[in-house]
Amino acid sequence: MTASSALQTAPSGRSHAAHARDWLAENLKGRLRIDRAHEIPVTLQELVDFEVGMHAAGLAGITWPRAYAGHGLTLREHLEINREIGLAPVPNSVNSIGKELAGPIILAICNETQKAEYLPAILKMQAIWCQGFSEPGAGSDLAGLRTRAERTADGWRINGQKIWTSGASKSQRCLLLARTGTAEDRHKGLVLFAVRMDTPGLEVREIRSIDGHRHFCEVFFNDVIVDEADMLGAPDEGWAAATRVLSIERATNRMYRSWRFQSELEHLIDACRTDARAMALLTPYSRQLAQIRVEVELLKGHVETLVETLLSGGQIGPRGSFPKLYWSESHQRFAQIGWEIVSRFPPGVDGPLRDIRARMEAVYFASRAETIYAGTTEIQLDIIAGRILKLQKAA
């Protein structure tokens, strides 16, 4: 049996949405559900196994070519399936960097050997990837990064430090951005690597974030030797191509967001409806919640319009900033309202109220990162001002 024939996709005559819905109803259970408070947290292995199943069922790798274990479909089916993923309490991928950042970049710039090595391993969850872009001195301003890559006889020697590298302690590969020259070169001489996380000289330290998690990491590179074969694209060219991919990814990654947002709002209301005391806390917020519900639909308008643009061969360019900005701020407003409601539940509540309290607490703290990562709100506003409105800085 070949890899692709083992994959289940929507049987003919049934919609991809119906297939996804049924598969999730059957397989998303127990500790995997993010809408329930769990005594014992879900393990990494359980999440990995679930994602292996999602891929086999056709719910991940939807647009990737079949040759690399993908499902060979379009963004339209990706959107259709992601609506269902959003409406269900599915955990975020532990390999979203692999699936939504490294993968598309690899598809755009790598040679056949590299694609065959890296891509199926991502979908089969054999290689979890992390993103080594940000540095202590280069956050929003990536051109300021200092991590050096020097040519050696049989590859490259890497020295430097990365930070805010989510999931590095659980990863097998790092999508590393380094430079061949000096920091004064700015955008020149940037080069991308796929670095094995078990390479000697590479050290990972976890950072605890405000939500109590330890996903964030610092990654130190001390004379880390990387094979020539693990360089992605040529210096300069690779990064130029990658930035084009990144502008699309900003608009398309976690495409289920609007629908997840909708399901969080519905969960809050449905849970409060089980208890008159909770309902009394929720009701005064009803007009604000209606406003949020409208914003969720408007967010879908941004996402679906961009998908249509891409499907018809158009360019998104800087317009990917619109959904990022809109979603992150609207979701924060919702998270604040949600927390104001659940934090005043009477002590000792159980069942649905305990579940939604735990979920809203997690959503509230996690949402504080949403206006920071993937380009801060301020960066998005700068992009719109400079590249869409083309506002002049000098007379």
Binding site: D270, R273, T274, E295, L298, G301, L381, L391
Partner: protein
Amino acid sequence: MHDDLDPAEFEDTARAVMASCAGAADVPARARLLGEAGLLGVLAPQATGGLDLPLRYAVPVCRTGGQALLGFPLIETLLLARLLADESPDLATGLVAGETLATIAWTGVVEDEIVGGAPVARVADYVLCFRRDGGALLLETAACTDLDETLSIDVDTPDAALRPGAAQVAQLDVAAVARLRADAKILRAACVHGSAAQCLELAVEHAQGRVQFGRPLSAYQALRHRLSRDALAVETMRNALVRALSEPAEGPAFARDAAWLGAAQAGPGVAESAIQVLGGMGFTWEVPLHRHLRQMRTQAVLGAAVEGLDDLAAHLLNGSNSPWNGDFHHVA
């Protein structure tokens, strides 16, 4: 048969006609210009001289009308010409040609003996008034009394309150009125989108031309970010309309409501922001930003935006049908 027409080309044509209307003396003069250009019959059947096109073709007409502060009951004429074509073909033909003027009293019901929110009712030949049962009556405006537009804040398209008279011309059933209201949400959102886009354009133009402390206002990050947020608001309206006119997976009704409620909420904010960007000039009567603000605030009232949000709130509190919450036991 008009599938080959491009709504974007319609927008260019409509914009040129709106510009010519700016020089017209009064509402009847604008009606004739719009009628001659064929814009009033976009939705009406061909028997009335109309083009019989789908709603998405009326969107650019209303968008450019809002942008131009047209001073004409555009939404009302477009929808009434289509609605009345069967029952009152002559009247519909007159509307399409721009020879007859009709409007709609968007607030109140006939049974209360006073209705309101009727744009340019003072010069209209007919006014559609809603009934409590969800139907509507078309009345001769001449037979209505106590017409009063002093409470209108819209200086370009003042709306009036009036006491309905007995001279009934036509009657609409509940289904026809429901469709009228649904389509009006789209056209109103288009009008507000055009109006807000125009305010943003005026603000951007001013920010780039006005120099203070040796730099254009557009160089200052506080203003750059303000204008970026306004651009987000305008783009959100545009995409919401695109989605509402497509076939959204969740059905068209909520996408339409969201497009309207979103526009009604965000549109006036863009005008308010533009007034701030223009500073003292923005607060003058001469600069048209206040007219856009008045137009958008009036549309929000005529389109019952706050009521719509409250209806949605009540609906939300009834709970969802998410299967993931299916095991919850709801209290009464």
